[in-house]
């Protein structure tokens, strides 16, 4: 029982990181109708910058800011410099460019920093806290949980309670109608990319201390999990990303804890297959909105 509590609470913290990353994929999907396969590589670049900031200043807060700002700027550069120049009539060209971007970024990082993992010590301890004498999640997991919740709530407020969010949603739902109504749709697409890349960078920054450390491929598995989650939830659904992230996080934690780490990917695959068989559009997918 104690073990279950520990595994579930840790799974929730891991799951929220997955949920954050999945949320970033949902944001880009809604803004630009593409799955950004380059999301993990871009985020890793931002986290390398965060590492450099951390090394130079010793401040974790500045490192977080560094990751967010670099993530946003990368999103800006990729959207304005690459994606906007790719024919947008079908999603395929954009996705291919994104995959190309992964190769370029990962090779560059490999050349610059080599294959070794750079460890990052977490800002808070990783040993579990106790409630009574039941071990629950660690201080660091608690920190991750709080940060992730703040970001999720913040994004929820941004999208649902601000006029910028209204414009972002309008541009995502019906770009042509939005243009007619004076919404600057290209600007909304750019902002969507910047937001998305910043959130992904934060997710990877939160992830790294719980893994081996930082190298060019640090976020690959996170991407696969988050992509699974985004598909599970329906790429259009922020709530789906959140719930899906938690489910996958807890599933991985339980399978790893009770069976073996090697089985976790199979469990995730089994979940994905089952959901797609039952609900091909994803659990939270709404019917495709009809356009004018």
């Amino acid at each position: 029982m104690d073990r279950l509590v520990l595994l579930v609470s840790t799974g929730v913290a891991r799951g929220l990181v997955i949920a954050l990353f999945a949320l970033s994929l949902v944001i880009i999907w809604r803004a630009a109708r593409i799955v950004n396969f380059g999301q993990a590589a871009m985020a890793v670049v931002a986290v390398y910058v965060a590492f450099a900031v951390h090394a130079a200043t010793g401040s974790y807060v500045l490192a977080v800011l560094g990751a967010l700002v670099t993530g946003a700027l990368l999103g800006l550069a990729v959207e304005r410099g690459l994606m906007r120049r790719v024919p947008g009539a079908t999603p395929m060209p954009g996705m291919i460019v994104a995959i190309g971007l992964v190769m370029v970024l990962q090779s560059l990082l490999g050349v610059l920093f080599g294959p070794r993992h750079r460890p990052m010590s977490p800002v808070f301890s990783q040993s579990p806290l106790y409630v009574g004498d039941v071990p629950v999640l660690s201080r660091y997991d608690l920190f991750v949980l709080v940060v992730a919740l703040v970001v999720v709530v913040g994004l929820g407020l941004l999208f649902n309670r601000s006029t910028l969010g209204l414009q972002l949603r309008a541009a995502a739902v019906a770009p042509e109608v939005s243009r007619l109504l004076g919404v600057r749709v290209p600007r909304m697409v750019t902002i969507g990319w910047m937001l998305s890349s910043a959130v992904a960078a934060l997710a990877v920054l939160l992830l790294v201390p719980t893994e081996l450390g930082l190298n060019a491929h640090s976020a690959d598995v996170l991407f696969v999990h988050a992509f699974t989650v985004a598909v599970l939830g329906g790429l259009d659904s922020p709530a789906g990303a959140l719930v899906g992230g938690l489910v996958v996080g807890v599933l991985i934690s339980l399978v790893t804890g009770y069976a073996s780490a090697g089985l976790a990917p199979l469990a995730v695959l089994g979940l994905l297959t089952t959901v797609l068989l039952v609900r091909p559009g994803g659990i939270f997918a709404t019917k495709e909105a009809r356009t004018a």
């Binding site: 209204l166 414009q167 949603r169 042509e176 109608v177 007619l180 004076g182 009809r290 004018a292």
Partner: protein, 265 residues
Amino acid sequence: MSRSTTPPTAGSRPSAGSRPSPGATGRPPRLEVDALTVEFGGLTALDDVGLTVGDGEVVALIGPNGAGKTTVFNVVCGLVRPRSGSVRIDGRPAPATSRLADRGVSRTLQGLGLFGGMTAAENVLVPLTGRPRRSADGERAVVAVLQRLDLLDLADTAVDALPYPERKRVALARALVTDPRLLLLDEPAGGLGADDIAALADVVRGIAAAGTSVLLVEHHVDFVMAVADRVVVLDFGRVVACGTPDEVRSDAAVEAAYLGLEAAR
């Protein structure tokens, strides 16, 4: 109610539509479409189309399905590029699509084009978001227009859950909330019952009385007769007649070209 109308000659052919309506002040008309030609692949959707809409004037653009009515709107809104011809709004070339609202132009779409997943109020707020207005003013404008169209009780309902007539009114409210000087309505009465159409006619007359120019596409004869100062008839992309509703109604060429108008009723 006296409104300026182009001296009509029922039965006059394409040039009639392109004659500018000389305002008493000599100002350029609110909307001036001149010699517009649009081609889609091999299809000539518009052929030398001209029409004007003066200040506070209601002009109905009628014609059978596929005549090119929506295409006229699309050109005015910058969504379709004409092969030749010009569109001038208040004497200046029409702006890019996303600047229409700044120039006082609003449009409704034949297919409504509401934002799914948003409430009625959110839909109506969207056109105000890009403008440098205080948000309190925006809220007020939204409430005012919702009230005017009898939608206030439904403000927080998701548009997907509204019945068709109400959704249609949300689309109209979204076009009106910016207080446009030129309003383009694409089949505003389509799919509505008699009561809703009568209410809509009141609203359109009120808008025009307040000085807004209205160009509307509509099949519904009674509605057109009730609100239009002038009627422009399109057939196969050409203006085949232009005049007051009565003149157009008694025009033989219109009947020949456009039996659908009576049939649709």
